[in-house]
């Protein structure tokens, strides 16, 4: 009978896992509890990734391959070739590699029905979304951190600047939120490897464009003000799509 009389008590008492109703109340305690849940989900994904290295190896491996192929295909020593194609190769490579990683990240959750295990807990669906999106954001960020030095060497471009950090942060926020949504949508589809890029890439095209143009301005030596229109586009994209993705996500999970 021990299991009915634990210190914590029971399902007939109020638990501290934040529900949607409690989140709506907006109290600071609930906000902190919600952040704790989001972090716990992301940390769990990171722990699993550290143990099986499926996602980061896929993303970083693919993007390095893309960089290497482009350095063979384009004579980057000639004139301004590196400045012209470098930004496009960098972010397009990361976008394509991100698709592979996002696909894998969600497949892992579906293989053992663990997403349903999460859905059986009393946390709201948008916290599940934000936790999964934060996990994917960390995978993308680590992959970019691995890929960027290689890109800088291969294309001989000075990219280690604060401006590029801002571009990368805006890109990974948008990619991970939209990517998490579409990965969840396509994971139950038979041809999910095809479906995810078909859904994901057209939607993130404005963000990709903004990142490429802002990076092009950066390598051309332009100032913050000249690239600000692209950064504003990226910020707007992120705000809209983080909210929209979190709202749509809960409907996708319904059977």
């Amino acid at each position: 009978m021990a299991e009915f009389h634990s210190e914590r008590g029971s399902g007939d008492q109020t638990e501290t896992a934040p529900t949607s109703e409690q989140q709506d109340s907006g109290s600071p305690g609930v906000f902190v509890a919600s952040l704790g849940v989001i972090w716990a989900i992301a940390r769990k994904d990171l722990l699993l990734e550290l143990r099986n290295r499926d996602v980061i190896v896929s993303i970083a491996g693919f993007v390095l391959l893309v960089f290497a192929i482009f350095t063979f295909a384009i004579d980057i020593q000639q004139a301004d070739n590196a400045e012209l194609v470098g930004p496009g190769v960098l972010w397009a490579g990361i976008a394509f590699a991100g698709v592979i990683g996002l696909n894998r990240a969600f497949s892992l959750e579906m293989e053992r029905d663990t997403l349903e295990g999460l859905m059986l807990t009393p946390i709201s669906r948008d916290l599940i979304f934000l936790g999964k999106a934060l996990g994917n954001l960390m995978f993308l960020a680590i992959s970019i951190a691995i890929a960027l030095p290689v890109f800088a060497v291969l294309f001989n471009l000075v990219v280690f600047r604060l401006e590029l950090l801002a571009i990368a942060v805006l890109l990974v926020i948008g990619f991970s939120s939209v990517g998490t949504l579409f990965a969840a949508m396509s994971v139950r589809v038979r041809a999910r490897e095809i479906m995810l890029p078909l859904l994901f890439l057209p939607v993130v095209a404005p963000l990709l464009l903004a990142s490429i143009e802002a990076t092009a301005d950066l390598v051309a030596g332009d100032s913050w003000s000249e690239m600000s229109q692209w950064l504003q586009l990226a910020i707007g994209f992120d705000i809209v799509f983080v909210i929209v993705s979190a709202v749509i996500f809960q409907f996708i999970l319904e059977d």
Binding site: E7, R8, D12, E15, T16, P18, K44, L47, S124
Partner: protein
């Protein structure tokens, strides 16, 4: 108290539940029987808030599962076919993670208690993917009880369990009954079902074809009517 009224669920053109009505009072074990496709798992998934019904209502302790999903999930523990555990995390890491999701502030003692209850305490530090299916089911049972739910929903929980694990399962079901909590369980093993049940509901083509106290059930008649697989009985 669990109440299901006129529940309808279809997948495409295939009707799975067709106006199903059912009640299960507190402190009772309700066993759902029926052939494959009768709607047992779909009913449990709706009660567990994993699936939405097309029409009709289902309430658990007065809470509508469609409207109060998060509150309902605080009061239920669920074991489905799949153990729903992370293969590359250890048994205790899995339980600690789910305890966090259930909002348990310091779950170590609770986890130790439950692992002992399902006799998995010696395997607490083993990764789940290295366990047998039966052992994973035991851990799933522990996870379902982490937050001391008022109701257990079990979908064929006996599958993959050895004799010892089945005894543990029966013990847990009996403890729920004596603590005035309820259990709804599906099974294809009629004898096991009758052994633990207070009442039995047999589902047929998405409706309740029979709902009687377990003591009033005639096994032979039940088998003849619902064509349950006889090999399951032989295994007992």
């Amino acid at each position: 108290m669990i109440e299901v009224k006129e529940l309808v669920k279809s997948y495409g053109v295939t009707g799975v539940l067709r106006g199903l009505n059912l009640t299960a009072p507190n402190g009772q074990v309700l066993v759902l029987l029926g052939p494959n496709g009768a709607g047992k798992t779909t009913l449990l998934r709706i009660l567990a808030t994993l699936t939405k019904s097309d029409s009709g209502t289902a309430t658990i302790h007065g809470m509508d599962v469609a409207k109060n999903g998060e509150l309902v999930r605080q009061s239920i523990g669920v074991v489905m076919h799949s153990p729903m555990l992370y293969g590359d995390m250890t048994v205790s890491e899995n339980l600690a993670f789910f305890a966090r999701m259930f909002g348990l502030p310091s779950p170590d003692r609770r986890i130790a208690e439950l692992l002992q209850r399902v006799e998995m305490d010696r395997r607490a530090d083993i990764r789940v993917r290295l366990l047998s299916h039966g052992q994973q089911k035991r851990v799933a049972l522990a996870r379902a009880m982490l937050h001391s739910p008022r109701t257990l929903l079990l979908d064929e929980p006996e599958s993959g369990l050895d004799q010892r694990a089945r005894c543990i399962l029966e013990g847990i079901i009996n403890e729920f009954r004596s603590a005035d909590r309820s259990v709804i369980m599906t099974t294809h093993q009629i004898e096991l079902g009758l052994q633990v049940a207070d009442s039995v509901a047999a589902l047929e083509r998405g409706r309740v074809a029979l709902h009687e106290p377990a003591s009033a059930i005639d096994i032979a008649q039940l088998q003849a009517r619902f064509s349950e697989p006889t090999e399951a009985l032989g295994a007992l």
